[in-house]
Structures are given as structure tokens and as C-alpha cells.
């Protein structure tokens, strides 16, 4: 049987020093879906924004559901210039896992992204699930994960970009 991969590591980055963003570029249209596993420690409290193909127009919207151990909530933004991924508080002392699934990223329809954020901090923290829409028919060729507050992603932060092929 051929050694056919269905789950490929396309690229990875580990920050040697604090930075404001991580970008994956020149993403080939060779897979069906993309998955980004982002293991981040923040220098200070901030949110995380995501842009595709460098698009700064108001083509993004999101809906999130979150729980903080005591209460729950949901928020929505529309016609934004980025996918607004809230971290719902500081993640300065422990790493948090952000996992993004980007479906049919090379297709000609609008692009849907699902994410889960695991941000437990031993007595506080959040569990968050979200969905985002990028209203573009272009194939996604680059993904920019960035902190709007500046050099906020700590050294040691890792990001892995995987490509998933249909079986």
C-alpha cells in the first residue's frame, strides 16, 4: 500500500523572541482543509486577530461561545477587518492552545473557520469555541496570526500548519 499522507505538516514556527505576529505564506492548494495548532504564551493581555491573504477590508465576521468556570457568554462581530479571536483575559503565565480548522480553503466559496481555545490557568481561565467567516472566494494562500497590541507573543510560542487531504 502506498505511503499516502492525509495529514501533512506544511510549516511550523517557533518564536525565538517575542513578536507581534506569525505568518504562514505561499500555502499551496494541495489539500482539502487546513489546521493550525497555535500554542501561545502572551507577554501581556490582548486578543488575537487572524487575517487571510492580507485582506484588510471588512470581510470578516465571528460568533463565539465561552465559559470561564462560573459563567458563560456569546459574542458576535460582523463586517470586521479581521477574525476577532478573543482570549477573554490574560494568558501571561501559562500557555494556551488555539486550534483552527479552515475548511475548503482552496475552494471558490466563502471560507469558514472553526476554533477551540483551551486557556485553563489552574483556577481561572476559559474554554472557548468559535466560528468565523471570511467573505472571499479566493483560495487562502496566507494566514497571519497577530496581536494588535504589539510584540505580545512570547518566545517559545509555537505554530504548526497542517494540511488535511480528503480520504
Amino acid at each position: 500500500m502506498a505511503d499516502t499522507a492525509t495529514y501533512d505538516l506544511i510549516a511550523s514556527q517557533t518564536l525565538a523572541s517575542a513578536a507581534s505576529s506569525i505568518t504562514f505564506s505561499s500555502i499551496a492548494a494541495s489539500w482539502t482543509d487546513l489546521r493550525i495548532v497555535f500554542n501561545v504564551t502572551a507577554v501581556s493581555t490582548d486578543n488575537l486577530y487572524v487575517r487571510y491573504n492580507g485582506d484588510t477590508a471588512s470581510n470578516y465576521s465571528i460568533t463565539e461561545l465561552w465559559g470561564d468556570g462560573a459563567s458563560t457568554g456569546s459574542l458576535q462581530t460582523s463586517n470586521a477587518a479581521f477574525l476577532y479571536i478573543t482570549d477573554k483575559g490574560s494568558i501571561t503565565t501559562t500557555p494556551a492552545l488555539y486550534a483552527f480548522d479552515i475548511f475548503s480553503y482552496a475552494g471558490s466559496a466563502y471560507k469558514t473557520t472553526l476554533w477551540n481555545i483551551a486557556n485553563d490557568r489552574n483556577g481561572s481561565g476559559y474554554s472557548t469555541s468559535g466560528v468565523g467567516l471570511w467573505r472571499s472566494t479566493s483560495a487562502i494562500t496566507s494566514v497571519n496570526l497577530y496581536s494588535p497590541g504589539g510584540s505580545n507573543l512570547a518566545a517559545g510560542t509555537t505554530a504548526y500548519l497542517y494540511g488535511i487531504k480528503a480520504a
Binding site: D3, T4, A5, T6, Y7, D8, L9, S12, V37, N39, T41, L65, W66, G67, D68, G69, A70, S71, T72, T94, P95, A96, L97, A99, N116, I117, A118, N119, D120, R121, N122, G123, S124, G125, Y126, S127, T128, S129, G156, T158, Y160, Y162
Partner: protein, 168 residues
């Protein structure tokens, strides 16, 4: 060689078992994914599966966001002795097993270990039906090399409970 979503080990129970262990997990992957489908012998409609890592008895915490038939709720636990994963007990609808996935990135790194969990119990009745999104943290810097899973209330995992460990 192509990279893969690789099955490291699996156990599908042919008879009841008090625990399931994955040991000697190699550090050759970037992430781990544990997928389980479980029913315990607890005389109730639900139970928890307790997950211990590397034999550690401290350093665990988690935050849950979950919904039942009507309400969204969140709770958390700090400084616990294991992670807790919601599963089916023995009075839930016959032949139903929970569906659970735990994703652990950078499991062989030297930082604390966050993980995400997705769990569901759907039994075609009003109670119990749950879907969970969980944030886990292990406040320990050692590489992960073993898992031990046990029922919290029940004494055994029932036949056909399944446990799959993947490396990415």
C-alpha cells in the same frame, strides 16, 4: 517520508477493565490526540473518566463549557489529581457510548501542557445529553510518556469501550 496522523496504540475492550494504560509514548510526534468512546458500570446515567499523566498525582486543572438539553454552564477545577472527562454510565440508553477527544500540542516540550477536550453524550433522551468543550492544563514541564485512564465512580469500563492514541 510523509507525515501522518499515526495510530500509536489502541485498546478496544473485549471484556470489562478497571483501567486502560498507554505507556512508553515516544516523543517523536509534535502533538497527541486521544480519542475514546466509553461506558462505565456506574449505576447512573453518567460518569467521568479520570486521566493521569506520567503517574503524576498533582498539577492538573480544567475549565469546562457545557450544554445539556436547555442550559449552557461553565465550571472549573484547580489543583486536582487528574483531568476529568465526561462519559456515559450504565443506565444511559443501551448501546450508547460517549465520544471524547483530547488534543495535546507540543507534548514533549518543556513548558506546561495545555490541552483541549471535546466530549459528547447523546442518548436520544432529555437527560443526560451533554456536549462539552474543555480547557485542560497540566502544570508540569516533563515530556508526556504515559496515560492511565480509570472510571471515577464506576469500577470498570464496559466491553466495547474503545481507546485510541494518535501522534501527529
Amino acid at each position: 517520508m510523509a507525515s501522518k496522523y499515526t495510530l500509536i496504540s489502541s485498546q478496544v475492550l473485549g471484556s470489562s477493565a478497571a483501567s486502560v494504560t498507554f505507556s512508553s509514548i515516544p516523543s517523536t510526534y509534535k502533538d497527541l490526540v486521544l480519542r475514546i468512546s466509553v461506558r462505565t458500570n456506574n449505576a447512573g446515567d453518567g460518569d467521568n473518566t479520570l486521566l493521569k499523566i506520567n503517574g503524576l498525582t498533582s498539577g492538573y486543572s480544567y475549565t469546562n463549557l457545557f450544554g445539556d438539553a436547555s442550559t449552557a454552564t461553565s465550571n472549573n477545577a484547580s489543583s486536582t489529581t487528574s483531568w476529568s472527562i465526561r462519559v456515559d454510565g450504565n443506565t444511559s440508553t443501551s448501546n450508547t457510548f460517549s465520544t471524547n477527544e483530547i488534543y495535546i500540542p507540543n507534548y514533549s516540550g518543556s513548558t506546561y501542557k495545555p490541552a483541549s477536550g471535546i466530549s459528547s453524550m447523546e442518548n436520544n433522551v432529555a437527560n443526560p445529553v451533554y456536549t462539552f468543550a474543555s480547557a485542560y492544563l497540566l502544570s508540569n514541564t516533563a515530556a508526556i510518556s504515559s496515560f492511565v485512564l480509570t472510571p471515577q465512580v464506576g469500577t470498570n469500563f464496559l466491553t466495547n469501550s474503545s481507546f485510541y492514541l494518535y501522534g501527529i
